[in-house]
Every structure is written in structure tokens, then in C-alpha cells.
Amino acid sequence: MSRASRTAEDAMIRLIDDRGAPLFEGRLGVSRTELLEIHRVAALTRALEDALSGLAGGPDLPWYVPALGEDAALVAAATALGFADPVFSSGRMAPRALARGLAAATWIHSALGTSASPSGGREAPGFAGHPDENLFPASATPGAAALSAVGAGLARSDDAVAVGVLGWGSLGSAAFAAALDAARRTSSRVLLVVVTSKSRGVGAAVAAAETAGLSAALIDGDDPVAVRDAVAAARARVREEGRPELVELACRREMDRGPSAGRRRLAAFLEREGALGAELAAEIDRAIRGEVASALAAARAAGGPGPEALHGELRARPSAEERRVADAFARFGAEYGGAADPDARFLV
């Protein structure tokens, strides 16, 4: 670790220490019940994503990118947002989706691309948007989610703040730099949340934002209490003052499948506060295991999409030619373009 990044780590905002001991005085702006829910959803996220990671590379799932090490930070950030806030992501959407109430089964259908998935099996694993939760489809183009969020923030809704959630991979992109510049110049009502990795050095997102003229804060992403507090405060400022902000969440990105550093720290804090005992922890764990098993069984039962899902929805108003092809396919299926289909001559 470089001298510069050590300095930046020292500057991270924390509200609880590594053992869950409070570093604050007075009352928190978040209830113990809400923190317990952050703990539960982070655990659910990890259990779901562990199951999906286990399937990745197999016949049901080509690949899957989990939010390893970031689950508690991303859930805590999501719970600090307003439900009407449109959220644009560069991936790793499971914590936000589940924090906003998306059913585990829907996430699994979506990731596996089953016939019951929102996109009918067309979208990349974990990239589908969920309109009822105000989550827009993820973009794999580095930094593009920041631009979309800044664009949405130009609507200047009184009730909502546009949010972009990005990973460290977006930091070096031209799109991210352009988004920061555009946010400042247009006073977009946007909050950018960037998750960075402690092993790669922290503070780069904050430095970029401050260079571009935005207010920014560096938070210890392994402290979900601080994340919840800082994101809520930043969102309130964006909404009230009408100017963009950035929050950097620096996380320890472990690649094993145990609880993330953030969830361990939050659990320790809740135990100290008497809000999470062994019995409740076991009960939460049992419920999550049941939920994941049932979601996986439902997804397997649904199966993959049929060939009828191939056509359609390319345009709001398909051309006559596109309608002709889709109709022929719908009518003749496997015989499409064959002898049984006299109208589909030369469509093979």
C-alpha cells in the first residue's frame, strides 16, 4: 500500500470500529431495526450470489459477477435512498434490488434468464432493470451509468435524486470524467456512489470529484452504519441544495464466500447493542437458506425460454418486414421458412 493511500484510508469516515464498537456519541440517524434489515438483506445477497456463483460456468449460467465484499455497503447505501430515486448501475445490482424489495426468486429468474425472467432470457446475468423498484438496466460500458444518472438528474425532480452506482473500474474512463464535469456544469441533481477497493488504494473517486468541483466524501465501506449515514446525508444535500455530490465507499473486497467485512462489523455492532442474538441470527440464516432454495427450485422448474422469445420488441413500431418475419416465425416455429410456410419464401 502506498503512502498516499494510507493517508487516504486514515481519512475515511467511520462510525463503528472493526469490532463493532461505536465511535460516535449521541443518537444515530438510523434505527436498530433498519440496521438489522441491512444485515439481513446483505446476508440474503451473499447467499443468493454464492448459489449463483456456484452455477456460473455451468449449463444454466455462463457467468455471474457477484458483489463480493461490497454487499453490506451497497445494501446500506440503497436503504439510504428514496424509493422514487432512479438508480443507474454499472453492475452488481443484487444488493440494491433486494434492498428495494425485489423477491429473491425474481432475481434468480433474471440471473438465470429463465422463461419467467423479466427479459425472457435476453438480458445478461444480473443486468436486467426492474421498473417497479426504479432500477434501470445496468451498463457494462465503463462510466456510462454515471452519465445516465447525471442525465436523469437534469429532470430536477422535487421528490427524487438520480443515483449512479459504480465500481472502481469506471474511475479511469472518459465517461466518468465527462459525467463529473457535466454534473457540475449543469447542476444535475445527482448522487454518485463509487465503490472502491482497499487493496487497490482508496480516495481516487473523491480526488476526481473534487478536481471536477464536486463535493465528495470518503467513507469506510466496511462500516455499514457510516455508509447509511453518509449516503442519507449526501442525498438530502443534493435534494435540498440542488447540486451534485459523490460518495466513495472503500471496501475490502474478499474473494471467499464468507460474510463480508462490512456484515461482520455490523453484526458485531448489533450484538453489542443487544439487537442481534444467536437465536435471531440462526433464525435469519434459516429463513435465508429456505428463501434461496425455494427461489432456485422455482427457476429450475421454469426452464429456459423457447424460440418464440427470439423475435419481437426490437422497436416500438416494427417495420412491415420485421412483422412479416415475426409472424411467420410465430406461425410456423421450427418449420419457419420451410415448405409449410409459403409466405416466408427466402426467409431461412
Binding site: 432512479p86 443507474f88 423479466p118 427479459s119 425472457g120 435476453r122 438480458e123 445478461a124 443486468f127 436486467a128 432493470g129 421498473p131 434501470f136 438496466p137 451498463s139 457494462a140 460500458t141 462510466g143 456510462a144 454515471a146 452519465l147 445516465s148 444518472a149 447525471v150 442525465g151 436523469a152 438528474g153 437534469l154 429532470a155 430536477r156 438520480a162 472518459a174 465517461a175 465527462a178 459525467a179 464535469d181 457535466a182 456544469r185 449543469t186 422469445a309 419481437g312 420488441e313 426490437l314 422497436r315 416500438a316 413500431r317 417495420s319 412491415a320 418486414e321 420485421e322 427466402f346
Partner: protein, 317 residues
């Protein structure tokens, strides 16, 4: 007949932009830092507030990324990319995040917007400003690509594009020829027969439409039909094939390099679906396979003399 050189037809576009901004609060004009200085946007920033006419970054990819967020949250952005020639920079976000969005989400999400994109060569434009992006853009499933011409005013196409629910690349020829009579009620996906004929169909789009009309005049007394494709993706196959079936001969013009272009797609469609009507091979009249040179643009572009030679070859086959 020689037509005077023209730049982007600003009047038609400006009127349509003004009407759109007046008539629909969802419409937002978004462009680079010099948007207000462009002829077709002049006065609009003063007339409408800063939330409706927005000067953004000098970066085509960034403008399209911003517009995606606006469109997904209910606005109808018109993205002005005419100040530069950097649509190539925006290709990643166009190809991944914008064009396929409706299909990828099975119709749940869409980002309707209109991109104003310069197209074609022009005297003095050279290899940087001479890009012909239609060959790239038409390969993006879900993106409509339409092209204005001397006969098809950009303003009419802009209005039609805002009326639909898709992302549309509205190509604006850098040298489209002198505008012909005003036209209303143009459909976004329909080719237009500009001149009827019985012996051969000249098929063109953009700046080549004016050349095709001139060549048809010059080919008299042969009865040459002229078709303005208007929509390059999807192509209006019905109108195209009906015309070729009537005349039995086709020559396709494009102000773009010859290979892998719109003309090749047109020729393939005719070969697949109308070969029994053809009396001769389909010929292409296009620019050479290379960038537009700075000082030889008049030789680079299809001109009337080359079109007449193609007409002669096809009629004599």
C-alpha cells in the same frame, strides 16, 4: 443541371426544433458547449430555459450517455452531434446501452431519443469531417437510421422521430443539395418515390438523392424512377421491391465508400426477393473504398456523369 452546394438545412431543422420544444415539455435539446451558436439552434437557448436547451460536454459519447438517463426517466432528448464528427466515440454506448435496450429488456425499457448526426462528404470537409457513419449505425439492432435529403426535409423527419418510441439516428447530409418543395407528414420508415419511371429505378439517400434527380433529368428521354430510401434501418422493402418489379432495373447510389454499405444491402434485398423481375445486374455508384480526401471531394462523390454511365450499362445489358 448543377445544384448549388448547401450546408445542413438549418431552417427546416430549427423550425421543427422550436415546434417540438413548444409543443412537448418532455423534449430537451442537448448538445455540446457551442450548441447555441449552431444555425439550427440559434435563439432557442434564449427562448427556452436552461433545463430545455442544455449545453453539455464536447463529447458525443457523453452526450448520448446523458440523454439515455433523460430518456429512461421520461424525457425525449434531441441530441445535437452536428458540431463535430465524433459519432465513432459514442459507438460503445450506442451499441451496448442504447440501441438494444428495448430488445434486451423484452420491451420493458426503452430510451427514445433523436440523434442529429452529420453524414456524407462535402467540399472542404476532408477525411476528418467526411465520415459516413451509416454503415456502422445500420448494424445496430434497435436503432432507427433515417437520412434527410434535398427532397426529404430534416425537420419533417425530426417530428416523425419524436412521435415514435425508438432511438433514431437522423443523418443530416453535409451537402444535401438545394432543398426542394416543403414536405409534410413524412413517415419515418417509408421510402419515397420522388419521380415515376418505367425503365430503371435509381435508389439513393442523403446527398446522393439530388444527384439521382439530376441524373434522371439528364437521362431523358429514358423514363427513370427515383426512390429516396429515407429509412436506412429498417429499409422499406415493400416500396423498394415494388419499384424494381415495375422497372426491372436498379442502380443504387451512395455518398459513402462502396463496400459493406447501404447500397450492398439494397442489392442483396433485390437479389433475394425480386430477381425474377430483373433484366440486368444491380449496379452501385459510390465513393471509392477509402476516406474522403481533402482536395478531391468532387471526384470522390458519385456525380451525374458516373450515374449516367451506370444507367447506360444497365439499360444496354
Amino acid at each position: 443541371m448543377t445544384r448549388p452546394a448547401a450546408t445542413l438545412p438549418a431552417d427546416s431543422l430549427r423550425s421543427a426544433l422550436e415546434r417540438a420544444l413548444e409543443g412537448d415539455e418532455r423534449v430537451i435539446l442537448l448538445g455540446g458547449p457551442h450548441l447555441a451558436e449552431l444555425p439550427h439552434a440559434r435563439g432557442l437557448a434564449a427562448r427556452f430555459d436552461g433545463d430545455r436547451v442544455i449545453e453539455g460536454p464536447d463529447d458525443e459519447a457523453a452526450l448520448i450517455g446523458l440523454a439515455r438517463g433523460l430518456a429512461l426517466t421520461g424525457r425525449r432528448p434531441v441530441v445535437d452531434l452536428t458540431a463535430g464528427d465524433g459519432i465513432a466515440r459514442a459507438f460503445e454506448t450506442l451499441a451496448r446501452d442504447l440501441a438494444p435496450l428495448r430488445y434486451r429488456s423484452a420491451g420493458v425499457f426503452s430510451a427514445p431519443m433523436t440523434l442529429l448526426v452529420p453524414q456524407g462528404s462535402a467540399p472542404g470537409a476532408g477525411p476528418d469531417l467526411g465520415a459516413t457513419p451509416e454503415s456502422w449505425l445500420t448494424t445496430l439492432p434497435g436503432l432507427r437510421v433515417v437520412c434527410a435529403s434535398a427532397a426529404t426535409a430534416p425537420g419533417a423527419l425530426l417530428e416523425a422521430s419524436l412521435d415514435g418510441g425508438d432511438p433514431v439516428a437522423l443523418l443530416l447530409p453535409r451537402d444535401g443539395g438545394a432543398p426542394l418543395a416543403a414536405d409534410d407528414g413524412i413517415a419515418l420508415d417509408a421510402a419515397r418515390v420522388l419521380r415515376s419511371g418505367t425503365e430503371l429505378t435509381l435508389i439513393a439517400y442523403g446527398g446522393a438523392v439530388a444527384t439521382a434527380l439530376d441524373a434522371a433529368d439528364a437521362a431523358a428521354p429514358h423514363a427513370i424512377e427515383v426512390l429516396d430510401l429515407v429509412s436506412l434501418a429498417p429499409i422499406d422493402a415493400e416500396t423498394l421491391l415494388a419499384s424494381v418489379a415495375r422497372t426491372g432495373r436498379a442502380v443504387v447510389l451512395q455518398d459513402a465508400p462502396r463496400s459493406h454499405g447501404v447500397a450492398a444491402e439494397v442489392a442483396a434485398l433485390v437479389a433475394e426477393r425480386a430477381i425474377e423481375y430483373l433484366e440486368a445486374p444491380v449496379l452501385r455508384v459510390a465513393a471509392p473504398d477509402g476516406p474522403a480526401p481533402m482536395r478531391l471531394e468532387e471526384n470522390y462523390r458519385p456525380d451525374v456523369a458516373r450515374v449516367l454511365r451506370a444507367i447506360e450499362q444497365v439499360l444496354d445489358f
